[in-house]
């Protein structure tokens, strides 16, 4: 009940974190440790030919032996580029099939291109990838991605890197209520209460990067996010009281008042 299961593997943490935008690898690692995250996203990029190849690499700071590495397709605008990138990622990670698919549609708002996303998902699932997919918060297309065989569906809460929080909780609820695979909010969280709201809605997890990396104190924010996720999950499981808009209900006894 308290574990998140993705593609048959159980995780204690429901917080997934990115590794972008940190000052250096030491800060990246310290923030990940404070977050308690077990699943960590990375991007795949060309090596800089001609530059010093002996520089430390991200995977030295965040080794696959200690974390589940989730390679992404950030920056890809076509299904073909995303598929090629993830084939390279699978080779890079010794055949590890778990991946994060994202196919973008517009460089200014980074909204996903859903037709290309669906196309890439079909190919990747056929090739044996375990696809966690960034997508629009559209209940119909989220269901399509589940039916294709994606192992987790990850609708945006608001634009990537915007920190605008959960802008359409009602869509997320529709998606969650219909889902048979984990629903993970990916993108848009700005602070710990946003993560809590996502979890209270019934999301299975939250994936974030900028909210931690661009906090004034990333390590402290990572710790706050961990607590926010846990608080939201517990509140969801506990079941919140009903909202009563038209009648107050005192918490203290209505009898035995002095002078009565």
């Amino acid at each position: 009940m308290h574990q998140l299961t993705i593609a048959g593997k159980a995780y204690r943490s429901r917080l997934l974190v990115g590794t972008g935008k940190y000052k250096d690898f030491a800060e990246t690692r310290a923030a990940i440790d404070a977050s308690g995250a077990e699943i960590v996203t990375v991007a795949v990029r060309r090596v800089n030919i001609g530059q010093d190849a002996s520089q430390p690499s991200l995977l030295d700071a965040v080794p696959p032996s200690q974390f589940t590495i989730l390679p992404n397709t950030a920056g890809c605008y076509t299904a073909d580029d995303a598929v090629r990138t993830l084939r390279l990622a699978r080779e890079l990670l010794d055949g590890h099939p778990l991946c994060k698919l994202e196919v973008l549609g517009d460089p200014t708002n980074l909204f996903p291109n859903m037709p290309e996303t669906l196309k890439a998902a079909e190919t990747l699932v056929k090739e044996g990838f375990e696809v966690m997919v960034y997508c629009a918060d559209d209940p119909i297309q989220c269901k399509m991605l589940e039916e294709i065989g994606c192992v987790a569906v990850m609708p945006l809460a608001s634009l990537i890197g915007s920190g605008m929080g959960i802008v359409n909780p009602w869509n997320l609820r529709l998606i969650i209520d219909n889902a048979k695979v984990p629903i993970i909010v990916d993108a848009g969280v700005g602070t710990a209460s946003d993560a809590t709201i996502a979890m209270e809605l019934g999301c299975d997890g939250v994936l974030m990067n900028t909210a931690i990396a661009h906090a004034k104190d990333p390590v402290l924010m990572a710790s706050a996010m961990k607590k926010g996720i846990e608080a939201g999950r517990e509140a969801f499981l506990a079941g919140r009281m009903a909202r009563k808009y038209y009648s107050a209900d005192p918490s203290s006894p209505t009898t035995g008042l002095i002078g009565s």
């Binding site: 990375v42 991007a43 795949v44 090596v47 991200l58 992404n72 084939r87 890079l92």
Partner: protein, 70 residues
């Protein structure tokens, strides 16, 4: 093997004096033993095939690493 005038590596043309394999190329670039992945003309070259894969003129290679991302 014929001499090898030119390869395209990560979008850049590079000249090599002698024929070489994928493993030889990685060695020359300083990435031997590093966690990288190689695509040749659109197809993955698995690590197990690096030593056996001879490169020919005009080959297009992509060599990638993991970097920070979200």
């Amino acid at each position: 093997m014929p001499a090898m005038p030119e390869l395209k590596i990560n979008g850049e043309s590079r000249h090599f004096p002698d024929p070489l394999t994928v493993a030889g190329l990685i060695e020359q670039l300083g990435y031997a033993g590093k966690r990288i992945a190689v695509e040749r003309n659109g197809e993955i070259v698995p690590k197990s095939q690096h030593a056996a894969t001879a490169l020919v003129a005009g080959d297009q290679l992509e060599i990638v690493v993991a970097v920070g991302g979200g």
